[in-house]
Subunit: 164 residues, 2 copies
Amino acid sequence: MKNREKFVPLDHESRLVEDDHHSIRLWLRLLTCTNMIEAALRTRLREEFGTTLPRFDFMAQLARASAGLTMGELSKQMMVSGGNVSGIANQLENEGVIHRAPLPNNRRTFCVKLTDEGKARFAEMARAHEEWVIELLGGLSGDDHQRLMAALKRVKLGIADSLK
Amino acid sequence: MKNREKFVPLDHESRLVEDDHHSIRLWLRLLTCTNMIEAALRTRLREEFGTTLPRFDFMAQLARASAGLTMGELSKQMMVSGGNVSGIANQLENEGVIHRAPLPNNRRTFCVKLTDEGKARFAEMARAHEEWVIELLGGLSGDDHQRLMAALKRVKLGIADSLK
DNA sequence: TTACAATGTTTTAAGTTTAAAATATTGGCG
DNA sequence: CGCCAATATTTTAAACTTAAAACATTGTAA
């Protein structure tokens, strides 16, 4: 994202983009893809289930962990702040889709689980959500899928590495 | 993200994940990568320049378009709502880094540009931002870069296609 | 045991983001 | 012209998000 306007006046709108480092271009493309998918999923979750992406994500984490999760684990897995998780948990608890169970050996923390009601509601949403994602990404060839998974794994490791 | 807990009790935490459709796994990996990079960039922009990612993005769009952009174009390119763009524009205008120029032929809209002050500040941030991104993604091989760019382009086209 | 650092969660304050409603302007079209 | 749909932006209300501070509990070590 170099800014060379002061030195090289631009004729074409894309001139600056061509000047950008290839890592920047890759990052912007990654961001665009993610934003497009997120926007589509958010709209559909709202329209079809009257819920939001973070609430869906919260429930999805719990659905994957039948033993339940602590608030800290949820925060880490959802990659959002602890305070954020607290707020969403309050809502979902009021709606009766999750409950917090005290842990016997540590009164600082507790175990968050989906209620039966929550499991049922999530199952319904998850089915639709999976269809949407397949629809959004299903146009890719099997080769592309595999290559992307592999390359993104290296991206992930590289990032973790560069953050020491 | 199928929820089969009611039918197949899970022994391992990862059981459900293995059940997921490969498109879901790809989407989650894409999301994780993007979130990791975003988090790193957000923290650094705040620590080193006292600004935020959306403000940086706003300025970056303008830096790429020396002729200026309308609010609607900014909204589309940044992939955020119009109201969001309005809010950020107000801040940046108060800080003197952008200005809105009326267009002679259409009083509904106007042309947003970086001020000289804005260009200077952005140039400084863009240099650091580019380094951070290269640091975060630079561990990839040239082959990976190219393959990712190509595959993500197909992802992008596929999404646009599936949204009709 | 008492002090104190570490851990886990919530609260707080400020800011971001969205969808929808409101506002303002333009461009037909009868 | 006058009406009305389309376009462009802003405002609004509610929800999300964060970083930092506050709170509560645990573990350790003098």
